[in-house]
């Protein structure tokens, strides 16, 4: 969807993917994606604020967890866990649609664009990502996409619409987890 450097911490944007509007957030260097439509009344979640999770078991005693931000819908303030899309007050009944947003090496993005990203099987994906280098030693990929200008030296934000991937390999440390 674009260069990782274009979405600074605290910023958010909505991107159109396959006809769907997806809200993408950079919260302190972590990237989150949600279908840009609140499951309650369809508000643009992209306009919501991130607020630390606050819990309590006794009046006056608070746990204020800045490490676990919740997205508050701009219309009614319902809070959502962006990693799962679950609403905070009604985990069973109200759920947003989360998307994985990852930072990927330009070479990999270029390869996926060339092949058509939806075509990769898990095995092909593992093979492709295994070649994408280790932290601090990015290897320029051999392919250049013709239809989309992808600069292989940059990191790109990728919204993943596919089924869950195989567990990441331990040597792929340059990829940031989403939660």
């Amino acid at each position: 969807m674009g260069r990782a450097s274009d979405l600074a911490p605290g910023e958010k944007m909505a991107v159109e993917v396959n006809g769907r509007s997806i809200a993408v957030f950079n919260v302190d260097g972590r990237y989150y994606g949600l279908l840009n439509s609140c499951p309650h009344r369809g508000a643009d979640l992209c306009r919501g604020r991130f607020l630390p999770l606050v819990t309590s078991t006794m009046p006056g005693q608070y746990t204020y967890d800045t490490g676990r931000p919740l997205l508050a819908c701009p219309w009614h303030g319902w809070e959502f866990d962006v990693t799962t899309g679950q609403s905070y007050f009604d985990p069973a009944g109200t759920r947003g649609r989360p998307y994985t947003v990852e930072v990927e090496n330009g070479a990999l993005v270029a390869e996926e664009l060339r092949r058509g990203s939806l075509d990769l099987t898990p095995a092909q994906y593992a093979q492709a990502t295994a070649a994408s280098g280790r932290a601090g030693e990015r290897v320029p990929g051999p392919y250049t996409a013709e239809t989309v200008a992808v600069c292989v030296e940059d990191d790109y934000l990728v919204v993943d619409l596919r089924p869950p991937r195989p567990a990441p390999r331990s040597d792929r440390t340059e990829r940031q987890p989403t939660a």
């Binding site: 819990t55 009614h76 809070e79």
Partner: protein, 362 residues
């Protein structure tokens, strides 16, 4: 409902959770007061706290059912024999909870205020609880001062006849405020129900927005005060602080509750960060911690009563009350007819038996 027989609508066990004892005169309390406070009353020719005469103008049609008004001029419901003849015997009640709203909280002198509350409680024990084993009673508390309230609970709260604390619904401060937490903790410790009852200090404005001009406004709109108190108790985390607390809403009505619950649940979803201890929908907290007396019943048209009772979404919410000697003209037959069969027995006795831990009578 008549004076001599129970309503044909119900022939099973009956527990009446709201019957009133009226202190007939200040002199009736003198045996329970230190000389200093007797003199305090007589030096001033003080006759009674002012609150109740405002809440219940003595000759108002609401204050006493005509057939319950003693012909000899005595104060209605000022003697256990009147209660026996009018309610306990004809209704065949298992138990009745005596509530004495004397209006102690309209006395400001703090020490006299405390002494009067204790005197009313001692009078209740001798003239009511010890006169009829069917009776239980609510403690009267000096409601202006949390510390004094706790002291009075500790003084008499263990008496087996006291099952509840009478909390006037109109107060200087909302009951959910943290300064009252120790009072509610003391109630739970003594296994006493918090009985939120019509009435209270007449210092404050009875509505939420200024003084009304007529009694009908004050009386019919009192549910606003009940709504404010319930909102306060739920939102401020009273039930997280005192998880065993049981509350009875007495003479407050109950069909305003679904609208209150829907609104509270709706706003809680978006505002819960303010009150993070409130970790479930407010209406659920009320269903678990509150019961409501059936008098007065704001029943509405017969054609909609069954539906509106269903909005409570629980069969445990209601407890039958005559509110003797007050006159509400409630139609018990119609209320019971609108309930599922299983809810009738619960409403007439079982919910109260459970809430007040009352024994089953042989």
């Amino acid at each position: 409902m008549t004076t001599t027989t129970a309503a044909p609508a119900w022939t099973g066990p009956v527990i009446d959770v709201d019957v009133h004892a009226n202190v007939p005169s200040a002199e009736a309390l003198f045996p329970y007061l230190a000389r200093q406070w007797v003199d305090w009353c007589t030096e001033r020719n003080w006759k009674a706290p002012q609150g109740p005469t405002v809440h219940y103008p003595p000759n108002s049609p609401r204050a006493c059912r005509p057939e319950w008004r003693p012909a000899d001029g005595r104060v209605p419901s000022s003697d256990v024999d009147l209660l026996r003849a009018h309610v306990l015997d004809p209704w065949g009640v298992d138990h009745a909870i005596v509530n004495c709203y004397y209006g102690v909280d309209s006395i400001r002198q703090p020490d006299w205020h405390n002494a009067m509350a204790s005197a009313v409680n001692d009078w209740l024990v001798e003239h009511w609880l010890e006169k009829d084993s069917r009776l239980r009673a609510s403690l009267v508390l000096p409601a202006r001062d949390p510390e004094s309230m706790v002291k009075e609970i500790r003084r008499v709260g263990s008496h087996p006849g006291f099952v509840q604390v009478l909390l006037p619904v109109r107060t200087d401060a909302l009951w959910g405020r943290r300064m009252f937490f120790p009072v509610f903790a003391a109630m739970a410790e003594h296994d006493l129900v918090a009985g939120l009852h019509y009435g209270g200090t007449n210092d404050g404005v009875p509505s939420t927005t200024g003084y009304p001009s007529y009694f009908i406004e004050e009386y019919a709109a009192e549910w606003q005060a009940f709504g404010s108190q319930i909102t306060s108790m739920v939102a401020e985390g009273l039930f997280q602080a005192v998880p065993d607390l049981r509350v009875a809403v007495l003479e407050g009505g109950f069909l305003w509750l679904p609208a209150w619950g829907w609104r509270m649940n709706k706003d809680w979803k978006g505002l819960r960060r303010e009150v993070p201890w409130l970790d479930e929908p407010p209406f659920d907290v009320v269903r678990r911690h509150f019961r409501f007396s059936t008098a007065p019943t704001e029943a509405g048209p017969a054609s909609t009563l069954e539906r509106s009772l269903g909005w409570l979404r629980t069969e445990e919410a209601l407890m039958f009350a005559t509110d003797y000697p007050h006159a509400h003209d409630d139609d018990l037959t119609r209320l019971l007819a609108a309930m599922p069969e299983t809810m009738r027995a619960k409403t007439m006795s079982e919910n109260a038996r459970h809430w007040y831990r009352l024994p089953r009578r042989g």
